[in-house]
Symmetry: C2
Subunit: 222 residues, 2 copies
Amino acid sequence: MHTGAGQPSSGAICVAIVEDDRSLREGLSLLINATSGYRCGRTYGSVEEAMRLLSLEVPDVLLLDIHLPGMLGSEAVLHFRKNYPSMQILMLTVYAEQDKVFESICNGACGYLLKKTPPAKLLEAIREAHEGGAPMSPEIARKVVTLFQKTGVPEKIDEQLTPQEIRLLKMLSEGYSYQGAAGNLNISINTVRNYIRSIYEKLHVHSKSEAVSKALRSRLIN
Amino acid sequence: MHTGAGQPSSGAICVAIVEDDRSLREGLSLLINATSGYRCGRTYGSVEEAMRLLSLEVPDVLLLDIHLPGMLGSEAVLHFRKNYPSMQILMLTVYAEQDKVFESICNGACGYLLKKTPPAKLLEAIREAHEGGAPMSPEIARKVVTLFQKTGVPEKIDEQLTPQEIRLLKMLSEGYSYQGAAGNLNISINTVRNYIRSIYEKLHVHSKSEAVSKALRSRLIN
DNA sequence: CCGTAAAGAGCATATTTATGCTCTTGTTTG
DNA sequence: CAAACAAGAGCATAAATATGCTCTTTACGG
């Protein structure tokens, strides 16, 4: 059922696991290797171990536990994304903790599964992740959707801002004064004033903070 | 396989459909009624029709097409959510259009399916929606996750703001001046200044726009 | 080649903000 | 009770912002 090859090869989806609970780790590995079309490569007991050894065989999909001794999985996502951008990361967790869920997803995880997920669903999720989906346990998916709703409908801006104007707006949101922004953009403060004017007109606002707020809400900047 | 009752009853999940393509509408209805545990109530050819008649039998789950003659499904979501808050809304569409997807979800849809979804998955999605999940086709889910990542990790604020401070911050983001906010909160402008001071300290910022930006990014306000 | 538009710059000035103090008045707490 | 603390208010002032004008350059379309 598995190829035994040292590098991702054959048509099988290559999976790796980072999970400190040994029996769960081995159980998952067995399940994956026992299924046609899937192959479990290395498994790791900690993020640190995975970081050291992952380059030996980069999997298609990484199952990553959230609660690990040492570096947390939710933080490790960033590192893995940077170093192995083609690898899809699926988070595994017992509880659907808001913060960790969002942190992981923002950091680049593509999906999020509860450990109670039945084997068939887990395998399906791995495939989905590999094929460009974003598998999530229903509870998690609902949380994501709910948070989305809280951010509100992105405001629509009818007039387009120039790249320069957007850069300036971004600086204002970071606390730059006109003078500071002018220096940074290498233009005179008077020009900054002109840009601001133009931005205000386009966004229909009359103050820096309202402009920043509208720009953020409409996702003009972030 | 269906109860024939006029109101949602029995254990079956009651589904209604808003879809202008008659053959698809009838096909879905047949599928649902042919499946144990599901029951298809009324079906509608337009949002307007559904709005008029939905109160006769409020379903558990509403399948809502995006592209409809008259009012678009993505806009109708708002109305349905307001009037039938317990009803779960599942969007149906041929293409995964960014804007419509996000508009629908922000407006309160709980899930989003492509029409190519196979029958078994569709039925599963309906059940999931009814049980508090948020079923999405993989392509859609990935888009949602990707957008999420763009919003960035919500900044963490270590010090808690008072309700009054949050109200003030919200006003500033709406373009109020100190004077205007003072009037609105029924406090003196000097007190506003004090609050601002306190907010700045807690957020570690030194200007209105930076405060607003941080508050939005950390989801203190929205 | 003239007119128009956009990017950039200058200047003036009324308002607003940011930030430094001090001072009540309650409330809580050791 | 005294001390500590939070909410609210006052005042002063340097700095920054909002907004009104005018003036170069380039670039572009007719």
